[in-house]
């Protein structure tokens, strides 16, 4: 049987904060805006909850791109969570870029509960970017690939 090359379907993990971005995703849904089904949303209590290990694990388990969404700086439900998250993610993403995981595969966006449109636009553009970058072969556990 000849080996057929499977069509590339990206896997994208989106960490969304409970108070803004998850509600933003909800609004995108109830406003009937579309975004690709390749995006898998994981709800976290705050963007600050995202441990660097989560991002690395997501890549390990086969994610081709990871995006983190939180409240706009200044609007955090817990006052300061996203400020810390912003510094951490900047350093982590810079490190991932340094070891050869393209910077396009990681993104942070601030999406408020009123920005359903922004959520859908962000996800569409991110998925497009991942399509152009192709499969992530650098940080994945090969056993997790289909």
């Amino acid at each position: 049987m000849p080996l057929e090359k499977k069509e590339f379907k990206p896997k994208i993990v989106a960490f969304c904060c409970n108070w803004c971005s998850y509600a933003g995703a909800d609004l995108a849904g109830s406003s009937r805006l579309t975004y690709p089904a390749d995006v898998k949303i994981i709800r976290v209590p705050c963007s600050c909850r995202v441990n660097p290990m989560f991002i690395l694990r997501a890549f390990e388990k086969g994610a081709d791109g990871v995006i983190m969404c939180g409240c706009h700086p200044g609007d955090c439900h817990y006052s300061t969570g996203n400020y810390y998250a912003r510094r951490r993610m900047t350093l982590l993403f810079s490190m991932l870029d340094y070891i050869g995981v393209e910077s396009g595969r990681t993104r942070v966006e601030w999406v408020s509960a009123a920005e359903g449109v922004k959520f859908s636009e962000t996800m569409n553009s991110f998925v497009e970017k991942i399509y152009s970058l192709g499969e992530n072969v650098r940080l994945g556990d090969l056993r997790c690939k289909n």
């Binding site: 660097p52 690395l56 390990e60 810390y84 993403f93 050869g100 990681t106 940080l139």
Partner: protein, 324 residues
């Protein structure tokens, strides 16, 4: 060295300190090891020479729990680590009598071996008292000589300076050894393409045997319970299963000390596989310097670590792609 031993004997004799934390001669001329000395007789084995690269500040965590004061010998760069540990309330300043020892650059036996010098019987010129210009090495194949700077550890070529940031007394003289750019290698890697960066780190980290030496020696890595020891975490206490685990261990290790790492270079010094682990820590330091203002961990007692601080105007994470 004799000055240091005499001073240690005095302090032991008058009861100022209960023990001395220093280095003891190893079984080979180039492997002195950290040791406690409690009597004047024991101090006969004390050595301090160019191979005493070990940073003793982490031992003070343990020594802070012991009865009485400990005289600890700290080189200029080690005092940064000690200051950082005081800041994090991991050591007790009152339990330490800090002898700030001079430093003329520390030697790396692997660098000497890489020059084809094998079968070493004795080494001359690595003492604290001489001018530290050339090493005369007696080997089983005859006498060899080597410029001191060629045998120096990488961290000494990018030395932070020979000032002790904290001390009770300074003993011995120092000599400036900085002759390279601290971020030179990091910048070289940053300028590579993603494929090249990845293959570079793949080849370096592929050598990792997960002995955890880099973690255990690190003065900033001093949690009582480490995430890598948790048995709920599937990569604890075992070798890396795949290339992902190698990278994850080193990224997370460096991330956990980001903003607290003083760049003492112990991780690279102890790595049995010769992986340049400082490149991870230094990348974080470079980013912190560029994005949040220059910061040297351990340089002072009251500044806030960059990852525990923030401003409204901080750079957005998208800067990573824009910097190119």
């Amino acid at each position: 060295m004799q000055e240091l031993i005499n001073r240690a004997k005095e302090l032991l004799a008058d009861g100022t300190v209960a023990r001395v934390l220093g280095w003891k001669a190893g079984d080979l001329p180039y492997n002195p090891e950290p040791a406690y000395f409690e009597t004047a007789e024991a101090l006969e084995d004390f050595v301090y020479n160019g191979f005493c690269g070990a940073n003793l500040s982490k031992y003070m965590i343990e020594a802070s729990k012991m009865e009485g004061k400990t005289m600890v010998c700290l080189k200029p760069c080690d005092t940064y680590s000690f200051m950082q540990l005081i800041k994090e309330h991991r050591v007790d300043r009152e339990k330490a009598y800090i002898a700030g020892v001079g430093c003329k650059g520390k030697l790396d036996i692997e660098k000497i071996r890489a020059r084809g010098i094998r079968g070493i019987e004795s080494i001359e010129g690595a003492e604290l008292t001489d001018d530290a210009e050339t090493l005369k090495i007696q080997t089983i194949y005859g006498e060899k000589s080597l410029a001191y700077a060629d045998g120096m550890l990488e961290r000494c070529h990018v030395c932070k300076g020979k000032e002790h940031v904290i001390f009770d007394e300074q003993i011995g003289e120092s000599k400036e050894t900085k002759d390279a750019e601290r971020f030179g290698e990091v910048e070289r890697i940053e300028s590579l393409s993603p494929e090249e960066k990845f293959s570079y780190f793949q080849s370096e980290l592929g050598k990792c045997i997960r002995c955890n030496a880099c973690r255990n020696v690190c003065p900033a890595c001093s949690c009582r319970k480490c995430v890598f020891d948790s048995n709920k975490f599937d990569s604890s206490q075992k070798a890396n299963v795949d290339s992902f685990e190698e990278k994850m261990f080193h990224i997370i290790r460096a991330f956990h000390v980001a903003g607290r790492c003083t760049d003492c270079g112990e991780c690279s010094r102890v790595c049995p596989q010769g992986i340049p682990l400082h490149l991870f820590n230094r990348k974080f330091i470079k980013d912190i310097d560029e994005l949040y203002g220059e910061y040297q961990a351990g340089a002072d007692i009251d500044s806030k670590a960059p990852l525990t601080d923030y401003t409204f105007e901080d750079a957005e994470p998208s800067i990573v792609g824009k910097r190119g």
